[in-house]
Symmetry: none
C-alpha cells in the first residue's frame, strides 16, 4: 500500500538531518547524500522534495529562524515591563534549543553562507530586522532614540559575538555567563541613565 502524505514527514526529517549534519561537520561542506542517509532516504528523494541542495539549506535555515521567532513570541507573552521583555529576548537567544552547539554551528555556517547567497542574506536580514524592532519597541520606552539605537546594536552584536565564540570552543564563557554578560550590558546602560 502506497504511503500517502509522506511529504511533511520527509521534509521534517531532512531539515533535522541537515542541521545535525552541518552542526557536526561545522561546515556547509556536507553532501546531500550524507544528509539524506541520516534522514533515512535516498538522495534522489531529497532532491524530489526540495529541488536542489540550496533549497535544502534554506529550508533548514528557515526552520531555525522560525523556531527562534516562536520562542521569542512565547516568552514575550504576558510580559509588560520593558526591561523584563528585553531580558526575555536575550534569554531566548541563549535558551536550550537555540544556544546548543549544533544549532549554533549551523547558524554560523548560514551566516557565512549569506555572503554568497542572496536568498540566505535576505532570510537573515528579515530575522535581524525583526529582532531589532523587537528590541527597539521596548528600548524606546527606556532610552532616548539615539541611545536606544546604540543599546540595540550593542546587544545584538554582543549576542552574535558570544555565538561565534561558543561555536569555536574558545575559552568562551558558558551559556549562563554569556547570558549574564549580555543582560549586564543592559544594566550598565540603565545605571548610566539612572545616574543621569
Amino acid at each position: 500500500m502506497p504511503k500517502v502524505g509522506m511529504e511533511p514527514q520527509r521534509r521534517e526529517a531532512m531539515i533535522r538531518a541537515t542541521i545535525q549534519t552541518i552542526g557536526e561537520a561545522g561546515s556547509l561542506d556536507v553532501t546531500v547524500s550524507q544528509i539524506a542517509k541520516r534522514a533515512g532516504m535516498s538522495p534522489a528523494l531529497a532532491h524530489h522534495y526540495f529541488g536542489s541542495k540550496d533549497q535544502i539549506f534554506l529550508a533548514a535555515m528557515r526552520h531555525i529562524l522560525r523556531s527562534f521567532g516562536e520562542s521569542v513570541t512565547l516568552r514575550l507573552r504576558n510580559l509588560e515591563e520593558p526591561e523584563a521583555r528585553i531580558r526575555a529576548i536575550i534569554a531566548a537567544s541563549f535558551a536550550s534549543g537555540q544556544f546548543d552547539k549544533e544549532i549554533v554551528a549551523a547558524w554560523l555556517t548560514f551566516y557565512v553562507r549569506a555572503m554568497q547567497s542572496e536568498d540566505v542574506a535576505r532570510l537573515l536580514s528579515v530575522y535581524a530586522r525583526r529582532l531589532k524592532s523587537n528590541l527597539m519597541y521596548d528600548l524606546r520606552k527606556l532610552f532616548s532614540p539615539e541611545e536606544a539605537e546604540q543599546v540595540a546594536q550593542g546587544l545584538a552584536s554582543l549576542i552574535d559575538g558570544f555565538y561565534i565564540r561558543h561555536a569555536l570552543q574558545h575559552v568562551a564563557p558558558d551559556r549562563d555567563a554569556s547570558q549574564a554578560l549580555v543582560c549586564d550590558y543592559l544594566a550598565l546602560w540603565m545605571e548610566r541613565k539612572a545616574r543621569g
Copy 2:
C-alpha cells in the same frame, strides 16, 4: 629580468590573492586555480610553493593574524595609561586594513573553518589568547580580577559581533560607530566603577 628569488614574491602574491578571492566569494569554496590565476601564476606553481590548498589557506590566515598582531604592538608602543592602551587595542581591530570588507570576510570564513580544521583552530586560539592577555594586562589595573575578566569577555565578544555584522552588510553600524560602541562599553564599566 632576473628569475631568481621569486619564491617570496610568489608566496606574497598568492597570499594576497587568497584573501581577495575569499573575501569576494565570501567563502572558502574557492579553487586553487582561481587564486593562482589572480596571483598571476599556474595552479601547479602554487602547489609547488605551498604544497596543498590547506597550506595556502593557513598561510593567508597567518598573514592576517600576524598583521593584526603587529598593528596592536605598534599602537601600544609609548602608551602607558591603561585606558588608552585598551582603546588602542580596540582601535587596531577596527583600523583600515583590518576591518575592511575583504579582510573581515576572510576572517570570518577562517573562523568557521576552525570548526573543521585542527590547524586553523590552533592558530585562532593562539591569537585569541594573546588578545585576551593583552586586554587583561591593562584591565587588571582598572578593575577587580572578576570584573576584568568580564570586561575582557564583553569587549572581545562585542568586537567579534561587529565583525560578523560588518561582513554581512546588515544594517550594521559603520566602522566609526562600531568602534565607538565598543569603546563606550569600556566607558560604561568605568562609570559603574566610578559611581561605586
Copy 3:
C-alpha cells in the same frame, strides 16, 4: 530493459576490462577512464562500485586467483594417484584461460605490484601457500620430506619462470612445450628416485 541489479554485471564488466586493459598495456599504468570506457561505463560509475583504483585492481586480481583455484580444484576431482594429481596442477597453470597472453601479463604486473602494496602481497601469498600445500600433499607421498620440499620449490619456480618468459615473447617455448618441461622436471626426480 530493467535497470536494477546492475551492480554484479558492472563489476564483472569492470574486472574483465581491467584484465584486458592491463594485459594489452602490459602495465598497471592504465587509467580508470580507459578501463571504464572499455567496460562501457563512466569512470564515475566505476568509482561508485569499487571505491578506488586500488580496489579495482584488487578485484581483478582476486578474480584471476579464484579462477585459477577453481580450475585446480576441478582438475583434482576424482584423481587419486599422486603423480597424476601433480600433473593436473601443472596443467591448470598452463590451461587456456590461465596461460593466455592477456592473463599472464596481468598476472605479472600484479606480481610486481606486490612489492608496493601490502594488500596485493597478502593476496599473492595466500595463493602461493595454497599452491604449495597442494603440491606438498602429493609430493610427500612420493618423496622424502626434504626432497618433496625441493621438488615443490623447483616446480613453482619453473612455472613462474615460464610465465614471465611467456609474457615477454622471448624466444620462449610455447604453451605445450612449457608444460612438458615442467612435467619433465617431475619425471627427472621420479627417475632419480627409481634409480635410487
Copy 4:
C-alpha cells in the same frame, strides 16, 4: 672555476640512484626528481644528460645487463669443462651484486617494462639471447641438440622463477638454496643421461 668532465660522474650517479630508487620503491613509479635528488643533482640536470625519463631507465638497465655480462665473462675465464662452465653461469646469476634485493627488484620492473617499451624489450632480448647462446655452447657438448635446448630453457626459466620469488619475499628459498636447486636441475639431466 667551472668543473669540466662532470658528465661521466653525473651519469654514473644517476644510474646508481635509479637502481636504488626503483629497488626501494619496487616499482617504476618513481619520479625523476626523486632519482635526481638521490643522485645529488637537480632534475633539470638529469634531463640535460639523459634527454628523457625513458633514457634514464634504459641507461640503468644497460648497466645492470652489462654488469651481469661482465661477471659471466669473468667467471668463464679459464674454465674449460662444460659442466663447470654452466655452473659458473648459474653462479653468476646468484652472485652478490646480482641477486641482491635491490637489483632483483629493479630487474623485475624492467622485465615488466619490456611489455610496454620496444627499447627495453630489445635490450632484454639481446641479453636473453646471449645467455642462451652461452648455455647452449656448453650444453651441446653434453646433450643431444633437442635435449640441450630443453635444458637451456629449463635452466633459464628456473633462474627467472627464483628471481621473481626472491623479489616478493615469498617463503622463497635463500640465495644458496636457490642456486643449489638450479644446479641440481642440471644434475638431474646428467643423471638421466648417465643412466641412458
